[in-house]
Amino acid sequence: MITLHINGLKVQVEEGTTVLEAARFLGFPIPTLCHMEGLSPYGACRLCVVEIGQEPNSRLVSSCTFPVEEGLHVRTASRRVMRARKMILELLLASCPQSKVIQDLASEFHITQQRFRQEYEDCIMCGLCVRMCKEQMMSGAIGFRGRGQKRSIGTPFDITSDVCRQCGGCIYVCPACMLRCTYTEPEKAICGGCANISIPCYVKDQFKDMMCYMDPCVACEIKKD
């Protein structure tokens, strides 16, 4: 067992726990976007930053990837943490303003405007879909390609992957594509950003043994009407 201090409270947790898990165990809320139980920690969205160590040598780390250490002092909502989180949320809003998840988080942190050039990206590169596909669905149909500004998520060669089972797990976990997932026309209801575009639910009849992860599936619902 490892003893550490979170916001002044002493807590004992098992070795190998992350700071995020320890803080949530104590009931301290830490917002996350790219974290999901059952998937490996990734540290992409940086929303879960916490301050560790004592002033003036404290530093910010992503709590989802930081394992607990003996005698660690963690602050989950210090002024510095809040300022960093707000900045990250502003940046997320600047790249992906249509996401309901990001909008909700922003309003939770009382962010009413952002200072950066507005863009309308479809993806925040959180990698949830990639990990979902690889770790839970054991498929590995989609992944990261390229690098830098040209980095994107999708299938190899931008063609429908033959290992994709069209389960929809990637769409289910995506925090950014809410708009398209709740679209009013079936053809546009499914993200298809990964190039497995054939709209799984829309042509469900062709896939008798299809495993669908969407519940309820927006495309199916719309089609029924």
């Binding site: 690889k134 498929s139 590995g140 149909a141 989609i142 992944g143 990261f144 390609r145 390229g146 690098r147 299938t155 190899p156 060669f157 992957s161 290992v163």
Partner: protein
Amino acid sequence: MNHQETSISRAEPDRVKTGVIQLLEAIQAKHGYLPKEELYRVARETNKPLVDIYGVATFYRAFSLVPRGRHLISVCLGTACHVRGGPTVAKEVEKILGIKAGQTTEDREFSLETVNCLGACALGPVMVIDGHYYPKVQIARVGEIIEAVKLGQKERLVETDQRLFPLEVSCSRCNHSLMDSRHAIDGHPVIRVTVAFDNKHGRMVLSSVYGSYKVESEHPIPEDTVVNFFCPHCHAEMIGGAKCGECGASMVPMIVRGGGIVQICSRKGCKGHMLDLGGVVID
């Protein structure tokens, strides 16, 4: 490289985990690019999802998924070259060849790429065609250079290769002269550099006579060792993008006084070297 060499034997399970880049390099060396079928094969043999292999292949600039042309033109857009007009050189090349950076001409003669630094900042703007450095490129001369490459650069350079003459060189990074007149080999002042190999670090002097290959080193260098060259003044490693045509080790670029660049192979005993005077005539 044949298929046997690039395939992984099942007896070496460790390599299955780590060998993706090496495998892709071997394929790239064989075909000049990464054909789709080969990527599928690598995925099968390494037991990894295809997307992981594809991710590695698209991450590194050294890999190309489309066939490259016979001649590769790299235009430097690093900071020094950028302020000296690298982007206009790149645009001029694009205009002449009718392709964009990263593309290949339809006749598969030329591929154009932009790179971020070639380690010859003192020569900016630099353009490299098939490993030959073209220093201080002027827009008006771009067409001429490309025409010369089309006609066959090789023949043009062999002529100068046969001559024996001393060169006065300077560091390609800081342009400080590397000549040392206190010491002489072949009756001419030597080129002084610092070298590092096998955890040893020391001075080395080279004959400045082109084609002489005589060296004297503080530490004896075993044959076939690839040595890292450093400038004794700015301490930067003297390394360019080019590889030796004889053995594949990196070439060490040095600026020739009066214009041009000389490159020597960094492997002890290898006689790979190249002199590129960029059209300057030495009397």
